[in-house]
Symmetry: C2
Subunit: 226 residues, 2 copies
DNA sequence: GGCGTTAACTTAACAACGTTAAGTAGATTG
DNA sequence: CAATCTACTTAACGTTGTTAAGTTAACGCC
């Protein structure tokens, strides 16, 4: 009975079809919409057939997300290829690629950062997978070329990653791309626009160039209230 | 039959007891461990009794989290009171309070940032609730006192919030407090230590003070590969 | 060419879940 | 005193992940 033609079945690679259906459902309806029975129905097999290829739902989801992050790595590699080694632009481009991919595939990100209990064992399994190594290389290069101050590169990577990831998570929590209740013009901007607007702050810091050459007015020294 | 003594019941405030049981379960076992039946069992009523006080599970969880974020607001207010108005220290302390509270109550945070579909309607309902306004005030004060460069305060708040929140999310994804697989010394640090280590980067930027007074070696201009 | 093993499924069923419907004891009220 | 309301209860529905047991086709082997 191998290769029988059910509705929408692909003769042969059932495991691949399950992964594909699961991926589509995750993107379409989120983790809650990805049920074993729905996946099975799309593939054209019974729900329990999935257990022949995957240990349980958790492993199925994990495999789907892992697959997604391989594409993610390619995004980042492409961003790096597009800019000269050692440049700040390259570092910035990696961040933008992170953001862009996450916005286009937000279901993956939401899921990956919620697998709490057992899964992420190695750093390769972590949210950005091999992307960490790529960003780190871009940072080290930029430090060597003098485009960036020389400090502990892992600290620098963590700083850049945190900033980008936080912006992403807040944007996603505000319901994809836009949060209409934000009244301020600033908040109405897309995550990518905000990321770019962060540029001067990231390069020169919150003190700013002016504050470093000229002394500014001192703050009142008393502990304020309200 | 009001005020009957079931196991662990509090005579009188059943609604409060439900909220309390739900809060404990959320902290103990996460969102998955918070089931209507388990909550009801702890309170000493039947599962469906909960629907007399809450419309559905979503509302129950929402109320629990909202309650948690009220305590969170108090954390931040206290951090602000402890430092002089207009100072950078005050801004930093708000960030630390954010981090500290989130680490001590990570169940709240995980949940709040995963309510995707309907809920967060107003900015007050958003992840940090009224904390946004408090941080914004600290930032505006710091700008006026000259302790911080003067730019769009909402942009500055978004920058600081993103950085702190991202660090938090990454740390939580790495399984509370510590991620043993990280080999680097940098990554082995606690979120709070990392936050403090970010200090120079946040104040002076990734270029650094040195790079702004003296010209650095230029980067190679060709598009790099690998 | 029958035989045993295995891969690839199937149906039936279980426990747990959120939720609804219908009923009921006790207090409050006209 | 009947009617209503509050604060629940039990029973049940549909869906979920998952397990157990059975079935069917294919393959290697003497």
């Amino acid at each position: 009975m191998a290769g029988k033609d059910h509705a929408g079945s692909r003769t042969g690679d059932v495991e691949g079809a399950i992964l594909e259906a699961a991926r589509d459902l995750l993107a379409e309806r989120g983790l809650q919409g990805l049920s074993m029975r729905t996946v099975a129905e799309r593939v054209g097999v019974s729900a329990t057939a999935i257990y022949h290829y995957f240990e349980n739902k958790e492993e199925l989801v994990h495999r789907v997300v892992r697959q997604g992050f391989q594409r993610f790595g390619e995004y980042i590699e492409q961003a790096m290829r597009a800019h000269p080694r050692g440049s700040l632009e390259r570092v910035r481009a990696v961040g933008e690629a992170y953001l862009q991919f996450a916005l286009e595939n937000h279901a993956y990100f939401r899921v990956l950062f919620n697998l709490q209990r057992p899964h992420p064992h190695t750093i390769e399994d972590l949210p950005e997978g091999g992307g960490y190594g790529l960003l780190r290389r871009a940072v080290v290069d930029a430090m060597e070329s003098g485009a960036m101050r020389s400090i502990d590169p892992d600290l620098m990577v963590m700083y850049l990653w945190s900033l980008t990831h936080g912006l992403l998570m807040i944007s996603l929590a505000c319901q994809i791309e836009q949060c209409p209740e934000f009244e301020s013009d600033t908040m109405a901007r897309t995550p990518l626009e905000l990321f770019q607007a962060f540029g001067p702050l990231v390069r020169e810091g919150v003190l700013g160039t002016a504050a470093m050459t000229a002394g500014a007015a001192p703050a009142d020294g008393a502990a304020g209230e309200e």
